[in-house]
Symmetry: D3
Subunit: 282 residues, 6 copies
């Protein structure tokens, strides 16, 4: 994640800081003198997986170039309540002013990583891998998709421009599965794989014949899915989606589908509770 | 929310659309001709409270000035699975290209409203009102705080510049509750109320004497809180916070605290599931 | 002011520099070679109060990261004609290219501080404190409100989002003082104080009864104002406004009003004349 | 000014509105319902020259596309206290939310036009024309330079990139007047005129010989200036500058200098007092 | 291209207009009154293919919302010298102010389409299709890649984030072709095809075994390329690149390579000469 | 060019990098570990003139603050195929991620410098100097005009706001050459020179009488141009333009026109081929 901080992440953090600070942090500036150096502890209040330390650090650096973060864990590490994760040293005002924005990022990213790991664990021993979706929080995608990978998930396409996914509405508009696939083969850059969402075995066969690279089995029952995978027989990658409950997960894994996608990883994971404590003037 | 669409919300939606569309929606543009008008249904897949219809609509308008949304519900209305919430009419490509971003906003805002209402209901019959916090998703605060009000909650300060909240680190740095309050009274614009977070009754008394307008009772047990409210005796507004569980909520309401703040409303509410179906070329 | 430089002030200075430099400073680049280090003096040409040295310095830093400013005075210091205020060292081209923008900020901010101090001095010995307003120059508010505090004034609300001020048009629309206050109590975050502008004693009484925190006495004559303050009797903070002339100031101070607001501090203060002289190639 | 509204002025107004509105106008939104149409009067409270009506109007349009402004005066018209200048019709909330920003622009621009006209009048009957400078308020130059022309003044160069003005520091760095002029002739686009600031008659002669197009006579006494203009004898355009007092103006005009530049037009003109009154719900 | 105008193209056109207009078009505003409607002809001065009419039109709309363009040709049409391509009607000032920016876009895009068509024609009758590259002009990619498709070429990946292309430096860093392919299969979203650049038949075989989807044959002579395509035998898509001269093109086409990529299409196509003539005040 | 990097060039490079990197460089990040330092060679593949090394360097610095570029040539130097121009050292990922954007700038700028020098050489020994125009690539003007000067050309006006150029449409709208010149003299800042495009000797005489500073001889045959220059007789600067072919150039130079402008320098120069080779992990 480090390489992208300056290019693609700084503008978003900057915007988030401006959301939290219109003019100044009046409480902090009232009680703490300017130019005082301090440090503060980052502590876990819940058990989970940490993700986003580089983003957390960048929040403070964008307020104070001299800010430093001594880290005792890395992204992907498991933490338990009370663990000291890092010590941030910076201008005392910066520490208090940046605290909420830094935690809002880190807590959300860690929450997603933690939840993703829980789900991914249920697929251990199966051929299936866990995928995220485009159901991310607006202006948080780069952070949330990264957090999914830290939790052991895999990324589906990043956005509408870099992957083809033909859905029901596209098929209807094109006049059929075959026509839709032909249209995308003609239109899209040849470096794109073509994925088609199918609702039954008829559509599945049509998609395979038309040369789909990836087949998304949408809202099928387990038996239909089994039949589908048999039909595909390795001629395409398979993905299943659609309100995957915890219980169904293992079952799906056993069927042999290649990927299982789950929007809830990014849209409904609760945060991981963390806090900044013990501010010490240096 | 309408009045702010053009000023404060358009830039964020624009950014979210650019996050989802680097160059173009290649699937849609491959299969659907340019310049074709269509309409599509917005349907509830879960029961809950709707919030954010103006934002949902604005996503389509920013892609196609002629887009219109016929709404059958309003923000705050309760919906049940299968309800037709609205019909969106626009260029067919716009409908498919804007779908995900529009739903990502609407689902998250409706999820927060739905969850807020559930929590707020437990306080009915008490004097306590439910408050949000600054624990919002970065670059989503204006949307999330609005959703809280739709769900029946109330907003705490918007950000660090428009409210004073003296916390433990401020008190330590200032050398005491009294000193911290005096410093903010001197520094901050006189239109600000002064809120102080206290951890025990000693601090509470000191805060009251120093003229705090609002007292936040932080992580106190119920008995201490009762004692605290007795001491305050109407001389200040009271707020309690700190990992408020569903069970404790009613109990706290009965004690007579004025406000109960709950970060989870904005940071951990699951989304409300909605979908866009039945695209019809016009 | 330092803590905010990077977050809220840099973008405005950047914009101001781009306003003054479309492509390059053609005069300077024609006569001065690249890569030559130089220094130049900042000198007062008038007596007054200095405000904005951090902004002045930042202009040069944004053009040349190695720029340094050795300061012989601080914000709030009184200067007299001929005083050497600072020595700026940087790339010679940067010194000439940034000069005008840096001075335009510093001269305006120092002009406001100087004028504010003159007005504030007339209130010495009274209970009244001098307030600014929202009548600031567009895109200069953060600089101008800071300059007011350096001159000994106090800040009113920062903007429309962080303070409630019910004026005549609001009262008319709401159907009365009482109704307007009730509406804001219900709508606005509870951390906001409620200020009401009243034109006569009837409205004043109504506002007090309805629980206004601050009463603005608008365009009243001195006798009415005296009566008003008697009626308020400490139950609310009082502010008076409306074309306050220098002569009336002392008189108003004697009456016992808490705050006197004055738009002219920010909208009509003349600048403080400063100049950069004696460029020396190092 | 109309043609530039969308390109160069909208972004600055947008920024100014965001400076005044972080989230929403809480007072207005509390007391006035959404979707109510209203109108309000723009009234002069002082005598002066109006400048900036298109900017004033644009503020409301950027908040509400349906806003209209019926104007009874035009830029350049003289107004007296009590005059009804325009009626603005828009969403009632928009009228109150945009009021301050719209007036901050219009009052400042009209103040500059009014003051410029007062100064320019003293030059009537002479060959001299009044010029502005680059001593404008940061991020206000496009508005302030326009206001100067409305008041009867003329614009000097817009910024550092579009005009050559060789000053003392440039001459020193170049090693002399001749060398500096030669350097700019070689470096700058040939469409630029070359202006040189001279402090005495020796420098003047050198500048003329080297082919300066414009001579700025800096801080000279009247007799020296007379001699200078005799020496120039039409071979270059002449400009004088340097703390031009009202008294000296006429005297300078009589000498026959072509242009007199005056920084105070833009940096120290007081505003023209205007107000918005009589909001009427339609 | 229409659907993206508002989202991804407007910001770039806006920036280009600001590059050409710092304050105003002084010539036009000096000689043409405000508020005069006019129309002007867009005429071809050279034979070629037109591309970019929607962008051309958008330039005028961004200056004047009422601007209209009556088009007599469409993107992809062949034009000859003297052809009337369109009539633009707008505010007379807008027509002159926007002319250069509008033509700079349209001429460049049409130049690329024209040149692409010339090259693509040489491949008619072969299985090879012509591809563009990422060698585009900075901040012009969306325009230039579109122009390539209008000229009959195909687009390679859009940018570094949406396609995998393993080059020599990647292979060296990874320790071999096999290792590099394995690393990307593990790291990249599964919707990406994997392309590998190979310099000889050894690398080619290794790439095929490791499961490359696309093989780029880099700087090979014709005989090696023939051998390569025989080895591939349909197991991967083939692309050849590297200073493809006009002469070699047909020869390459005959060999049976799937794609031939050519950076010159976007980085070195001369413009197509067009002009705007016969301004008529309406 | 260095002095402007931070102010006017950084935002454009940033935008160009974002055009090429939506989320991350997936190929590079898959095969190269984070935090590895490396260096790579910049090598010429064609003979030509180098221009834009500071821009090239800045691309890497914006991705990695520690990037350094050891240069073996300077802007304006002639290079031949195989020459080692520079060694870039940075994070290995940065080197590969920034390569294309850095080269896209440097190749285009060097191409323009190379082509400009070829054209300018044909004017050696004549009084004529070679000029660029505003026919630049959108959002590339600052780079392209700089490259022209490195190739030995001169810059015409930068944009519509900083130079007056009265063309046929202006003359028609104003009602004649004399009227157009009078209008611009009245309207435009006095620091602007007035240039008029004339098509015949009648217009030329009118322009001279009206006081034009510069005469552009548009599309005249050589004999008319000779007559024109005789008529001007040094009373104005002369420029000729209009599809200047290589053959006509010398002929025009001999006639004695002061400037010859050529749009092709910026709109149709092919790039100079350069490459980055031999990445070495340090």
């Amino acid at each position: 994640m480090n390489e992208l901080i300056k290019l693609n992440i700084d503008p978003l953090i900057q915007l988030a800081l401006q959301e939290d600070i219109t003019s100044e942090d009046i409480t902090t500036n009232a009680v703490i003198a300017a130019g005082v150096k301090a440090e503060v502890d980052l502590i876990a209040k819940e058990a989970g997986i940490i993700a986003g330390l580089a983003v957390y650090q960048r929040v403070f650096e964008l307020l104070d170039e001299t800010a430093t973060v001594e880290k005792f864990v890395s992204d992907g590490d498991t933490v338990k309540p009370g663990d000291l994760l890092a010590i941030v040293a910076a201008d005392a005002r910066t520490l208090l002013t940046g605290e909420r924005t830094a935690l809002n990022y880190l807590q959300r990213m860690s929450g997603i990583a933690t939840h993703t790991q829980k789900v991914a664990k249920q697929l251990i021993g199966t051929r299936s891998r866990l995928l995220d979706t485009r159901k991310t929080t607006p202006n948080m995608r780069i952070f949330e998709k990264y957090a999914v990978t830290i939790g052991g998930g895999y990324n589906h396409r990043y956005n509408l421009s870099d992957g083809i996914l033909i859905k029901d509405n596209h098929i209807n508009a094109a006049g059929g599965v075959k026509e839709a696939i032909a249209a995308t083969k003609k239109y899209a850059p040849f470096v794109r794989k073509i994925e088609v969402e199918v609702e039954n075995l008829e559509m599945l066969k049509e998609a395979l014949e038309a040369g789909a690279d990836i087949i998304m089995l949408d809202n099928m029952d387990v038996d239909t899915m089994k039949a589908a995978i048999k039909i595909v027989a390795g001629r395409a990658v398979t993905e299943c989606s659609g309100n995957i409950t915890q219980e169904r997960l293992k079952e799906l894994g056993d069927i042999g589908v290649d990927f299982i996608s789950c929007g809830a990883l990014t849209h409904s994971s609760p945060i991981l509770d963390l806090s900044m404590k013990n501010l010490r003037i240096l």
